[in-house]
Symmetry: D2
Subunit: 343 residues, 4 copies
């Protein structure tokens, strides 16, 4: 069994790691840290884990963490970069679920996250953990930057078109997320009475996932022009992301449906649905799948891509475990081969 | 007091007409028809009206309806057109909340609604009841076609740009609606277990509100090129529409915020919010307001318009009463001057 | 117009006072205080009030408040009692929506709220503002203690039985509340991700509304034995309280339905529904009504009373305005004569 | 691998069987019947099963079903009893998830379900499938009647007290269920706009689960007096049952917490929480657990039992699989050893 550590396990991403790892055949969570909940059993905070995960939160301790094979960071942005270099030095592999290692340019990090990067020398080494783009690099990686939730849904939806240089003009990404994406922090803006039975956009002027998506698309094709409008919306549900992406194709004769099916034919966690499908976020609830449908309305030159994921699974903890499986040579689906919860 | 009739009052639009008319100072609902609920008190179906609206559903009867000053049709599409000519002949004014008189071209009606129009000769006379575009015509009208919910939110959001010929290329409307837009029909697809805690697009290949929006934009400016992509989405909430509209402006120097504020300065039911605002659908819940915010992200040439309405009020019953007020020379705000319900 | 002040207007109760007073024909809100939001327009915090209530929050100032005819306290428990004596001295009437003046015994206050009462000498004078029990006393009152939300629903449901000494043994109150009852505080326990799609009991060992209900029942009849089990539950909805009350009747021959109808025959805000009805909380959403149905299942000696209110209206702000109307000799229904919002 | 058939698989119970059986190590679903969806792939109806369960609905065919080792009936009440005798004759074991075999007295069946029972001779043989009461009988059974959802939560909560004859007087069960309990039928009463953001009681005069619970309690102790008031409520969430049960204990000196812990010490799917706990329905979402907390408020003689289950899992499909595991000598937890989904 692999020895697993989790730093910062009190948030929803940490809880989802625990839920998924509890049934993973090869992983044993040995340590989970939290300064605020130090000493409390994880099942006290998350009663759904009673009897499944009988460990308690502890203070972060580098000595203890360094005995793990792999450490997940499920911390707020800017924390992991303080501790990762020392862990790597001791031979521990790391998957960071925050943003610390997602942007390869330290200037971009400073612009969007407001502080200098603590270990810019690692940014080149860190592998962006989107297996559908970088599987081979992940296999060799010591340090994986787990993608953001919106970027996962968006990049998977655009990959077939951008990689093949089929897009011209700007791309519009109108994305909708459930409220768990805002985390478990005690904020008025996340109260049920504030967000239930309402819908709104946010981050219209500029959201931190914009540079991450733009970087990803540029890596798919050097010819991508970088023009991207990204508008996220808060949706009155707990889990789920639905990205509706609008791109203008250079050539109306392309068989878009066929192209998508071919691109993802061998991907265990990307499901291109039959033409005419309407993917619902609940069709991926609690599972690691991304489901995609693609349209060209009225035969025009606008392609509409609908892609859905569970933001806490394929958008966070599930994808992190998928990356772990790849890094350690396990079956990529280990611990993740379950169906969506419906209804 | 004006004598009011409602045909087809068992759905959500009919119920909302009843709720709003119950406190209208000049309107007296004298008849409400329903074949299926004939004889039942409206307060039995809608206990929230107990003590406020003490009439019962009756079979439709042209003789009875012809004694009204105004008849609202809150029927499924294709019903009103069967009865409207006879009522107009008897001097009754009509507001149709369905689609029967929205498209002025009978061929468009047939293409999108699947049957021949029963009274194409009335299509030219029918006034499209969006007061912010057609107030004077509504004042003179015998027959008003109350706009669809999506078209109301979308057209109000695009009016300042399109009327001034500031848009080039295609317009993208990514719209989100609460579930009440699907009506009170007993359909599996509207069950709580099917739509709560999930989000999905629908009608991507072509939705009936597309030709209505296109016709409206063409009337704002003969130079509008008609290129429009419209993707509606089903949102897990009861009420509310949020339209996120993306348009490319010809000229980046335009003061978009100022243009919007000026356009709607005297409109009682359109609220242009301060720059940087993020309108929530709950800020218009149960009231007739449309709230709009406008952005030009990263200073690019894409303008993003966020417009919200309550689909049952400004998107249906409230706008119908606003039209009634205009048609009968009443204060346009009569019965509609209330605040949104928050939380 | 009456000059109204509101102390502590940033919570949901304060917001609901603003929403309702915005359309009250005789009330003019002249001052609303908040230390944390001092200087901010109320419509910035509550965009649903844009154009309806154009005042800003100010620091609490006794001088300013003393110029009001009536001051509502919508503050946390224990605040009003600090300021009320001075206001009363200056001839200002006060309605406290918190618990400060609900319990007439200062020892009870200390036991359940943990601090000494700041003005125990006022507890006898303060009138418990449940109009259906105390209308005449409210008419004469300088100081009204607005009842809690659970106590309102529970006492109205038990009034006919207890007043007539028909109950024996203990009473069981199984009450369910929407999440707005927990207020607008930034607490993890009120996050949408914590409370949506889940249901739980709380306060089983002892809830502050227990002594309030017990005191109320004892006032209805000196013979009430005080045996009461009260279990509140948190329900995944924003507004609404449903109290299910179980009482053993001494005499099975009583016409319970008739007794309830007779008791509330002249009450404008209590609606005894026909036998066999199942009151839904949405049938009172956004309105000041209490709806009640009563059963004696299988003809046994247990009476089951179902009573519903909107916790923010009849359970807080609406009942406060009803009390205001009574105190100032206005039509008791002024500003409150609206229908429930359905759906 | 065991060969499994499912009759009537289009409802939520059938879908949950499919979701759970898809990961069961010993079960192979070979046939699933539906007259209405004959020929359609199950993954078309439930896209969450795409890639996990690649079979299609077929017309019911006794010949095909008789080749199974076990057939689950997930049909409406009154269907299974038509087909079960023939299947048993052919050596097929049966678990009925409907009510057909739950009441051992055919007169009770007729009274509560309105028709004569088709095979009253099987009622004595049928084993009531609550493993915590009947594990040994289930092990030997050919025919298991899977308990109702409310009866499961209620009986598990009352088992320690009733079995030990600690209850006197009547028992009150105030139960709350998510909307999935009403099934996937196209009914107005189950529409999101009808049930979301509202709460109501139903079946107060008499619900079909009342005789089932009464029968169960009578089997726990011949001295149970049968006095039971059962009031179910509809809660605005998809999954979950919370039963709040009030019982008067004969003897206040009993260590209720200890009694509950001891009773269920070896039960894999019943979790007695520490004293003072407040079980949430989400703590059992998507898993087969029942969690229970027990209180004696203010040291009185009323015991309050809080028990929660997922109505589709421990209240239906999960318990059916637990019964299957017992009937076939498998590990009782096979296919069911997962954590709850939180949030």
């Amino acid at each position: 069994m692999m020895k697993i550590g989790i730093v910062g396990g009190t948030g929803y991403t940490g809880a989802e790691l625990l839920r998924l790892l509890a049934t993973h055949p090869e992983a044993d969570v040995q340590v989970i840290t939290s300064r605020s909940e130090n000493g409390k059993a994880v099942s006290e905070l998350y009663p759904g884990l009673r009897g499944k995960m009988d460990i308690a939160f502890t203070e972060p301790d580098d000595e203890v963490l360094s005995r793990c094979d792999l450490v997940f960071f499920a911390t707020p942005n800017g924390i992991a970069m303080q501790s990762v270099p020392a862990l790597l030095d001791k031979g521990v592999k790391v998957i960071d679920l925050a943003a610390d290692f997602r942007l390869s340019n330290p200037a971009d990090w400073k612009q969007w996250y407001g502080v200098d990067h603590a270990c810019p020398e690692l940014l080149d080494e860190a592998v962006y953990g989107l297996p559908e783009m970088n599987r081979e690099a992940i296999r060799q990686a010591r340090l994986v930057a787990n993608p953001g939730c919106y970027p996962t849904a968006t990049q998977l939806g655009l990959l077939p078109l951008v990689r093949n240089d089929l897009v011209e003009g700007h791309v519009i990404v109108d994305a909708k997320s459930g409220v768990s994406g805002a985390g478990r922090g005690a904020k008025v803006a996340s109260l049920m009475c504030e967000v239930s039975e309402s819908f709104k956009a946010y981050g219209v002027a500029g959201h931190r996932h914009l540079p991450e998506i733009r970087q990803g698309l540029s890596r798919m094709s050097a010819r991508f022009n970088g023009e991207l409008v990204f508008v996220p919306h808060l949706t009155p549900m707990i889990r789920g992301i639905h990205a509706t992406t609008y791109a203008t194709v250079k050539d109306r004769s392309v068989d878009v449906q066929g192209l998508f099916e071919e691109t993802f034919a061998n991907e265990p966690f990307v499901d291109v649905m039959p033409a005419g499908s309407l993917p619902e976020t609940r069709s991926v609830k609690a599972c690691n799948q991304c489901r995609i449908a693609v349209y060209r309305p009225q035969g025009g030159d606008t392609v509409v891509i609908l892609s859905v994921i569970d933001n806490l699974v394929k958008g966070a903890a599930g994808q992190a475990i998928q990356n772990m499986n790849i890094m350690f040579g396990l079956d990529e689906k280990a611990g993740l081969d379950v169906s969506a919860m419906m209804p």
